[in-house]
């Protein structure tokens, strides 16, 4: 067990280091900005006094490394500073939107993960059948289409031509769960389409890869029925690749979420990020990036920990 614990500790340590490095990059990005931030934000007409005042407000007069640790310290306590655009606390703006984004991603994941795994296993089982071929072509199509294309097609057919769902997902803070579910449905379906296709293809590939191993042939030659070969001999060994597939795609949801939120005007972090980028509202951009990156790093970490745990060689050392 010692080796396993060591391995886990190492991987988690690496994750923490990565997170730290990511925070440095995101912070350093601000330093890289050509010209003076204060002058850029306040414009040419700003008087030296207002510029100085602004710099002091942002702490720009301090040394970069001190500012970095101030910023990181604040971020760890949930304080991301103040928005340049409206002077409101970034954390206050972010919190409800983060909840919305999580809800959307969770809904998409709840639909797509079981769907994709089932379809992937089926496609692997019946490979080269008509089902597999149709699945291959349609998943390729859905992967290759930009999220906004799928989104608008869904709006056209499920909101405009057949008004089943609303085309704009404006969620009020006091909407009940069913209402929220209803309004989140279209963006969630869009995300599901993209992610399911990805996950299904990767699951299929992982299982087909596995079915070629000698121990699967051995199981067949022992007279083990087909379903039992899959469940007892293939799936246990496919856990690591499948965990990876799922984590990778959940991470992919993060990128997808940004576009889908814009298409459906969904009040999430992605929408906020895009708005802030066009306003060049740096504290908000940094906060959003940090949240997305942290989620991403965390999911990759979980995937690796999962594969380590599912490896019999590591669970049962010699």
């Amino acid at each position: 067990m010692n080796g396993l614990a060591m391995l886990m500790a190492k991987r988690i340590g690496l994750g923490l280091i990565t997170l730290f490095a990511v925070s440095v990059i995101i912070f350093a990005a601000l330093e890289l900005m050509p010209g003076d931030l204060a002058e850029q934000v306040l414009g040419q007409s700003a008087t030296p006094e207002t510029v100085a005042q602004f710099r002091k407000e942002l702490g720009l007069d301090k040394a970069p490394h001190i500012r970095y640790f101030d910023w990181l310290g604040g971020a760890l306590q949930g304080d991301f500073g103040v928005s340049l655009a409206n002077k409101r606390s970034v954390a206050d703006q972010l919190a409800p939107r983060f909840a919305n984004t999580l809800f959307l991603a969770a809904l998409a994941a709840a639909i797509s993960v079981p769907l994709a795994l089932t379809l992937g296993v089926l496609a692997a089982l019946y490979r080269n059948s008509i089902f597999d071929r149709v699945a291959n072509v349609s998943t390729l199509t859905s992967i290759s289409s930009p999220e906004f294309f799928l989104g608008y097609v869904l709006i056209l057919f499920l909101a405009v031509k057949n008004p089943i769902f609303p085309s704009i997902s404006n969620i009020s803070p006091n909407a009940d769960f069913m209402e929220q579910l209803y309004r989140t449905m279209l963006p969630a379906i869009t995300l599901t389409l993209v992610v399911t296709a990805h996950m299904m293809r990767m699951t299929r590939a992982a299982i087909i890869n596995l079915l070629a191993s000698p121990y699967i042939e051995m199981a067949r030659l022992k007279g083990v029925p087909r379903w039992r070969v899959i469940v007892r001999h293939a799936l246990v060994n496919a856990l690591a690749p499948i965990i990876n597939v799922v984590a990778l795609n959940l991470a992919y949801l993060i990128t997808g979420v940004v576009l889908v939120e814009v298409v459906f005007v969904y009040p999430g972090v992605g929408q906020l990020l895009v708005d802030s980028v066009s306003k060049r509202d740096l504290p908000v951009v940094q906060a959003c990036c940090l949240i997305f990156a942290a989620t991403y790093v965390l999911l990759n970490l979980l995937a690796d920990v999962g594969s380590i745990l599912s490896n019999p060689r590591l669970r049962h050392p010699r």
């Binding site: 070629a212 042939e217 030659l221 060689r313």
Partner: protein
């Protein structure tokens, strides 16, 4: 094993199997007949591509992906397996016909304990309960002389050694007491000393339960120990079939005779080099490690011009590591390598072009030793160009000359790619590339072990001729003692990173031996069908397992 009075168990008639290449199907087994009686062991022997594994699997009504049974009848105990429904076939597999694969390490599911995989068959086929079959498993482990039979089954495959896994797999296929077992090269991946235990236990268990078996192998000596009858296959056709002794004593077909004859090539040993001669390569007290793990301990030997030193040992003995130290790929942690009396820099990156040129290497796998995207001409001309600076017509002439030397027609091969050549031809190109540098010394790393016997013999003869002509010094790394016998002048026996014994071949192959050399020599199967029986009697049946752990 006089079981011929029993009835016929397996009757294959005009079996045809097709394999897919791209979109087309081509026949790879062309109408083979095979009759196996109850309790009888038949050896299927042939070179790679003979179709022996494919026929073995077909005996279970099974064809791998990309293969299909296209004609003929496979009658097992009166049932035609080519027309039996899948469900009935499944009920047959494992319970009445069982299969032992070449690599037990890959054929055990890494996620389940051995005993769980053992009991799966009997439980699924409704033969016994979990408790009964667990008890039976332990009993079988005991009979197969596995260490700690009471607890070994509760380990995972990666916690058990290769030879033990192969025996555990034999135990597993016995779990349902099948009528027929297909052994598909069960000892090919094992070292010779481990092979003995597995062969002995397989033979015992087949005898005890009076099971019929198809024993598939490419090793004549092994099949001689195991089979009552032998069938020789060549490219999907039967060559001949006979009782084992009859086949060994008087093979009828030319192909079979040539197979038998391979083992007879033996070169006379050259006289030892004069005492005052400077060795071409002299390895002095080398120790080496991979990272923290020491793998080589104080190894020394000399190689003289025009002589062949064979370095012999099982996997993990450090013989290839010694070669890596000489080439400078793995700088030794202590000791030094001398070339013509001068010390070579330890790391190959610090050696000059002349030093690099003098020592060349030929690899085991010709497939990976030749760049698949380069033509033969380019492969051979590069060293000529690089070391000797030849260009244009002179270069072409030299390459043609090299191709002539390795007995390949220059005009035919110059423009081909490696993938268009056979295994033996590729190995010849590897030799030509080494010769192109005009070296004094060549390391041959298991150069014949991936080749069929006839082809290997051709390579050995070629190397021998080149040594005569060019006065080359060879370091010959091998695990195969037959190869040593045919080509070596001196032998270095290695084990676990140390030199166990060294000396001229004539001396080494005569007793008295170092105990390990003795074990190694006596473990090499011989063509005599009584060899295994005699050996086991000599060693005492109970301690073969221990013998391997000397």
């Amino acid at each position: 094993m006089q079981n011929s009075k029993h009835g016929v168990l397996l009757n294959i008639r005009d079996l045809r199997i097709e394999g897919r290449s791209g979109e087309d199907w081509t026949e790879i087994v062309h109408g083979v007949d095979l009759t196996l009686r109850r309790g009888e062991v038949m050896g299927l022997i042939g070179e790679s591509g003979a179709g022996k594994s494919t026929i073995g699997l077909a005996a279970m009504g099974y064809a791998r992906d990309g293969c299909r049974i296209s004609g003929g009848k496979i009658e097992f105990d009166g049932m035609d397996l080519t027309t039996t429904p899948q469900d009935d076939l499944r009920a047959l597999r494992g319970s009445r016909i069982a299969y032992v694969a070449q690599s037990a390490a890959a054929s055990f599911n890494p996620s389940h304990r051995l005993i769980d995989q053992h009991t799966e068959g009997p439980m699924l086929h409704g033969i016994s309960s979990r408790e009964e079959s667990e008890k039976d498993a332990i009993e079988l482990y005991r009979r197969l002389r596995l260490p700690n039979p009471d607890e070994i089954g509760f380990r995972y495959p990666h916690q058990v050694s290769g030879g033990q896994l192969q025996r555990a797999m034999t135990a597993m296929v016995m779990s349902c007491r099948p009528d027929l077992i297909i052994f598909d090269e069960p000892t090919t991946a094992l070292d010779v000393t481990t092979q003995i235990e597995v062969l002995a236990s397989i033979r015992d268990i087949v005898d005890q339960f009076d099971t019929a078996a198809l024993y598939i192998t490419h090793d004549l000596a092994v099949v001689a120990q195991m089979a009552d009858r032998i069938k020789v296959l060549l490219k999907g056709d039967e060559v001949e079939e006979a009782e084992t002794r009859e086949m060994l004593e008087s093979p009828k077909q030319d192909y079979t005779k040539s197979l038998w004859a391979v083992r007879s090539f033996e070169r006379p040993q050259k006289p030892p080099a004069p005492a005052d001669a400077v060795p071409v390569v002299s390895v002095k007290n080398i120790s080496a490690a991979y990272g923290e793990t020491p793998v080589l301990f104080d190894v020394s030997f000399d190689i003289h011009a025009g002589r062949t030193v064979a370095v012999v040992g099982e996997s993990g003995s450090g013989k290839s590591t010694a070669a890596r130290c000489i080439t400078g790929l793995l700088p030794p942690s202590s000791g030094e390598v001398m070339f013509d009396g001068e010390v070579l820099p330890a790391d190959f990156r610090n050696r000059n072009r002349e030093q690099l040129r003098q020592a060349q290497m030929i690899y085991q796998m010709a497939d990976t030793a030749l760049n698949p995207k380069k033509r033969i001409g380019e492969i051979i001309s590069r060293p000529v160009q690089f070391y000797l600076g030849l260009k244009g017509a002179a270069l072409k002439q030299r390459v043609d000359q090299l191709l002539d030397q390795i007995e390949l027609e220059p005009s035919q091969y110059y423009h081909r790619y490696p993938s268009e050549l056979s295994g033996g031809q590729k190995q010849r190109i590897g030799i030509a590339r080494a010769l192109a540098a005009e070296p004094k010394f060549i390391i041959c790393d298991e150069v014949t072990s991936a080749l069929d016997q006839l082809v290997a013999e051709g390579i050995l003869k070629l190397l021998d001729r080149l040594q005569e002509e060019l006065n080359l010094a060879y370091m010959f790394i091998t695990h195969d003692l037959a190869t040593v016998r045919s080509i070596a002048d001196e032998v270095v026996v290695m084990r676990q990173g140390k030199v166990v014994e060294a000396g001229p071949k004539d001396v080494m192959f005569k007793p008295p031996h170092h105990p390990y050399t003795d074990l190694l020599l006596s473990s090499v199967p011989e063509m005599d069908p009584d060899w295994l029986t005699n050996l086991l009697e000599e060693r005492g049946a109970d301690n073969i397992g221990e013998a391997a752990d000397v």
